[in-house]
């Protein structure tokens, strides 16, 4: 699916056309995990899942996912221990469901803007798209950033290759936009990833300085696209 947006679009403009947003995520998750979720009425399932994820983010961001007990999660969601296990297979499975959302989302972004005419426009849009979707799904992105290192070796490989595939996409766009030195293109792409991740990882900093998401996106795009012809 491709998105139609003006050049240098704003967060407000993005919000109106994005196919992925908090309110339709739950239906997606219920569908992708229908084998596991025993609750049949979709509306009930979505509401309880919404509470489960909301509570998980609140508790995990306060004490970390591993120390967060399922008893705390039950108290916070209003579910019982037994009830909770109608929605998740295990505590690890809960983390894997969240991971899956981010992997799915990250893979979708470059496709949204693949039809734009110039490499510079695709670059600018892809960066903005990533920043804006991470703003909409901030707790999900934050969770995956912080918890992915504690996954099993095989899951960690999947998480890293998902991140690298987005970074490689940026790299290719830099080359298309005129960066002939591929080592430099890789490094610049890594820098872009680092800047964007900072937006959802160190949010307290930008809140404190009252930096808006549009100001931030403009700043990142400016750095990324600067001097694209002198290496």
């Amino acid at each position: 699916m491709q998105l139609t947006l003006p050049q240098r679009f704003t967060f407000a403009q993005f919000k109106q056309v994005t196919p992925i947003e908090p309110s339709n995520l739950l239906a997606l998750i219920v569908e992708r995990h229908s084998k596991r979720i025993t609750v049949k009425r979709s509306a009930v399932a979505q509401e309880n899942l919404r509470r489960i994820f909301e509570s998980t983010f609140r508790l995990a961001n306060k004490v970390g996912f591993a120390p967060m007990s399922l008893r705390d999660l039950c108290r916070d969601t209003g579910l019982s221990m037994g009830g909770l296990y109608g929605y998740i297979a295990s505590k690890d499975d809960l983390a894997a469901m969240i991971e899956d959302v981010i992997r799915f989302t990250s893979a979708a972004i470059p496709i949204w803007f693949s039809a734009q005419p110039t490499a510079l426009e695709r670059l600018d849009s892809t960066l903005r798209g990533h920043i804006f979707i991470s703003e909409l799904l901030r707790p999900w992105f934050y969770f995956v950033f912080m918890e992915s290192r504690t996954l099993s070796a095989s899951q960690k490989t999947v998480a890293r290759s998902s991140e690298m595939s987005f970074q490689d996409e940026l790299s290719r766009l830099f080359v298309e936009a005129g960066l002939t030195d591929t080592t430099n293109a890789h490094l610049r792409a890594a820098h872009c990833m680092a800047l964007i991740q900072d937006w959802y990882v160190k949010r307290w900093k930008y809140q404190q300085q009252q930096v808006s998401v549009d100001t931030f996106a403009n700043s990142v795009c400016r750095i990324a696209l600067l001097h694209l012809n002198d290496g």
Copy 2:
């Protein structure tokens, strides 16, 4: 204490003059926590502490600090549960000792280069200094980055104000170097922090791309100092 180094110094040059390095950290820690550490012979204490930190970094980076059990830590260090408590007051205290090292180090960096003649040189040196010291003490920096969010509210405040005081120092240097827009200076300083943190947080990425610490430092300094006169 101030350091004498050439402009755009390399990691090899930095290593020869840095007052903080892995081999003298332990003496510093023993001194700063002498009230708590019951072991009197300093050589024994330092060797056991070295093993405790080494094992903590290995285990915490594999499964996280909270899920790491003190039994695992004992198995890895060769100490018994009782023996371990001669060195740490509690599991939380162990994390606080590591935090303290990074706070102490981060506060020292700007002073090392405060006597350099121009703001541009101070900026370049301060950035390199931070990158190179985080290379030397990578496990320590990584641990604090990952675990500081799970600290108590008061400890979290201390950690954040330590990070902000370094960032504000960068901000001031940007203004001295000609950035008249202070909002822009703050944003640029935050970007610098994000890029540097990426060096020790996502090391696997740079190893995979075979980027050396000197190449990385040059790239960050280039971005940081670019167009310092056009905002």
